[in-house]
């Protein structure tokens, strides 16, 4: 037997009248904090403080482990040891696994066992752990939905709603779960926009970790430039794409004390999935890039793309190598810039270029999977759509960056 909506509510009314009693309730400290963090006047300063705290924690934690321990372990012990024991410094194997003979740091060597391991374990791992530790505490206390409420008005301007901060923030860790988290958005338009925007504009934690190691003084500016881009293009996409952006009612759960067991579990799960899904791609990326150099393919590609790279984007033609690696892993791609001769302006431009251009292969696969839920047409729509957005963004936004750099007099 089926009831109508009204009949159902009427029945529920009857049942709850007899079974549920509401006693008096005094507001507690938790409620007070809950109110303060969600009302704009106090909530926005608090949100800025929390996000800044997130950023500072991320930077100092990752820096502490990478600079304090990893760089020393890898450069002072691991690298010299490998150089000594690995046979035949002129052979291909040496070039692929150890890299440049005589290189003094893992930034320069570029072998699978030197730079590959160094990026994955030395630089990215501390960054990932730092990121997730803070994120998990935000998730478990219940702060995320409050952030969603605060940013709701702003996100409506680009056709999304507050809840879109969840995929955005998850993407800062890794774009892959970010893409799946868009399932919580209501309309097809919002899902498509969010997937396109996050895969183009939001750098992942691994990439941020390397950026932080490479150009700590510029990372903040690059982030601001990318986020601005997300809003500018969100605004444009919202006007172009048909579809609705409905208001939603959002549940804000009470604050809870994180259970440390759960924090530990989640941190372990996310870190170990980084080990199994990311590290192989980093190592594979190093092999691929080295093979392409050894066979001369990279140089040929560089010549082909030279007009575009040096002509339009103003970066050295060798940037083609990181762009190739970027298909596999963005962190590896940024890392490759470390050993290139570049001006500050070129370095910033190429980092932005790598960030904006093609999502990494894992994100790409996830976009296909999400499109697949509506069949071939879905895949086609998501892929063609994102690629279109991507192409447009790369040319326009990197162009804008060059103009800004020129005005500011950065060489």
């Amino acid at each position: 037997m089926k009831l109508t909506i009204d009949e159902r509510w009427e029945l529920i009314d009857r049942i709850s009248r007899q079974t549920v009693a509401f006693g008096g309730y005094k507001h507690t400290l938790k409620d007070a904090i809950g109110d303060l963090t969600v009302k704009p006047l106090t909530g926005i300063p608090i949100a800025l403080t929390v996000l800044y705290g997130f950023w500072s924690f991320f930077c100092s934690f990752a820096g502490f482990f990478t600079d304090g321990f990893m760089v020393k372990i890898f450069d002072d012990h691991w690298l010299p040891w490998l150089m000594e024991v690995f046979p035949d410094p002129d052979g291909w194997l040496f070039k692929i696994f150890v890299g440049e003979y005589g290189a003094e740091s893992c930034f320069e060597a570029f072998g699978v066992l030197t730079s590959g391991l160094f990026v994955a374990v030395g630089v990215v791992l501390p960054a990932i752990v730092a990121f997730y530790l803070f994120l998990i505490v935000m998730e478990d206390t219940g702060y995320l939905p409050r952030l969603a409420v605060l940013i709701d008005t702003l996100l409506h301007k680009i056709g999304l709603h507050g809840f879109a901060v969840v995929p955005m923030i998850l993407s800062l860790g890794c774009n892959v779960p970010g893409v799946t988290a868009t399932r919580n958005l209501e309309t097809e338009k919002q899902r498509f926009m969010m997937i396109a925007l996050l895969s183009v504009f939001i750098p992942c934690g691994a990439q941020l970790g390397v950026m932080l190691e490479l150009v700590p003084e510029y990372v903040g500016w690059i982030m601001i430039f990318l986020i601005m881009g997300m809003f500018v293009f969100g605004f444009i996409l919202n006007k172009l794409i048909p579809g609705r952006a409905p208001e939603i009612l959002m549940d804000v759960p009470p604050y809870r004390k994180p259970r440390w067991r759960n924090v530990g579990n989640k941190l372990w799960m996310r870190t170990s999935s980084f080990f199994t899904t990311a590290i192989p791609f980093v190592l594979l990326g190093v092999v691929l890039v080295n093979l392409m150099y050894l066979t001369g393919m990279m140089d040929r590609l560089a010549t082909v793309f030279s007009p575009l790279l040096t002509g339009y984007f103003g970066v050295p033609e060798e940037t083609v190598a990181p762009l190739v690696a970027g298909f596999l892993r963005k962190d590896l791609a940024i890392f490759q810039l470390a050993s290139m001769e570049m001006t500050a302006g070129q370095l910033i431009t190429s980092i932005v270029l790598i960030s904006l251009y093609f999502p990494c292969i894992a994100t790409f696969a996830m976009i296909i999977r999400e499109g697949w839920s509506s069949g071939w047409k879905g895949v086609l729509k998501y892929l063609a759509g994102s690629l279109l957005v991507l192409g447009f963004v790369v040319f326009v936004w990197v162009g804008v960056l060059r103009i800004i750099l020129m005005i500011m007099g950065v060489d």
Binding site: K2, L11, I15, Q18, A21, K266
Partner: protein
């Protein structure tokens, strides 16, 4: 037998799932953590039973992709037993989904989860009476600490198909009774 954990977003289905199966699916304090279903196994009386952690949904009329997954899962599991997880401090609106699922003829057990939070908010629920009206097992639980979980598991086999006509009659009958007193 297959058990589906269903309920609103952020009521603790994933915590339930992890407790029941020993799995480690992500638990967080915000609605919409689970966006896809996860399957696992648990033991009830020496029998291996499949348990599914289903994304949260407010009703059987899906509003987004995650809710679509939930509704599809339910429709495809015609022989499933539903453990409907309810936030004890928000019983009314949770009952809506429970009734909807019962109307489709699924056997059900109701877990009044977050019992501690309802208590903190000074909300009293008459569990026996609720069970009397609905005609299916109703149990208070606190999944994060594990309280009530053993009792819940021991009564999954008692899951019954809700009889809507009976529920209507019970709700009315008991109310009249209360009026007379």
């Amino acid at each position: 037998m297959k058990v589906l954990l269903m309920g609103h977003p952020n009521v603790g289905k994933s915590v339930f799932f992890n407790r029941l199966t020993g799995a480690k699916v992500t638990e967080s304090n915000y609605p919409g953590t689970t966006i896809d279903y996860t399957e696992g196994w648990m033991r009830i009386m020496d029998k291996e039973v499949q348990v599914v952690d289903v994304p949260g949904t407010f009703s059987l009329d899906p509003k987004d992709k995650a809710e679509e997954v939930a509704v599809k899962m339910l429709r495809e599991s015609k022989d499933a037993v539903i453990v409907c997880v309810i936030d004890s401090s928000k019983i009314e609106r949770s009952l809506y989904l429970a009734l909807e699922i019962m109307e489709e003829g699924y056997p059900m057990v109701i877990a009044l989860n977050m019992w501690d939070i309802a208590r903190d908010k000074n909300i009293q629920v008459d569990v026996e009476k609720l069970e009397g009206i609905l005609g299916v097992p109703v149990l208070p639980t606190i999944a994060v600490s594990g309280e009530g979980m053993r009792e819940l598991v021991s009564r999954i086999e008692e899951a019954k198909k809700g009889n809507i006509q009976m529920i209507l009659k019970n709700a009315e009958g008991m109310e009249n009774e209360a009026d007379h007193r």
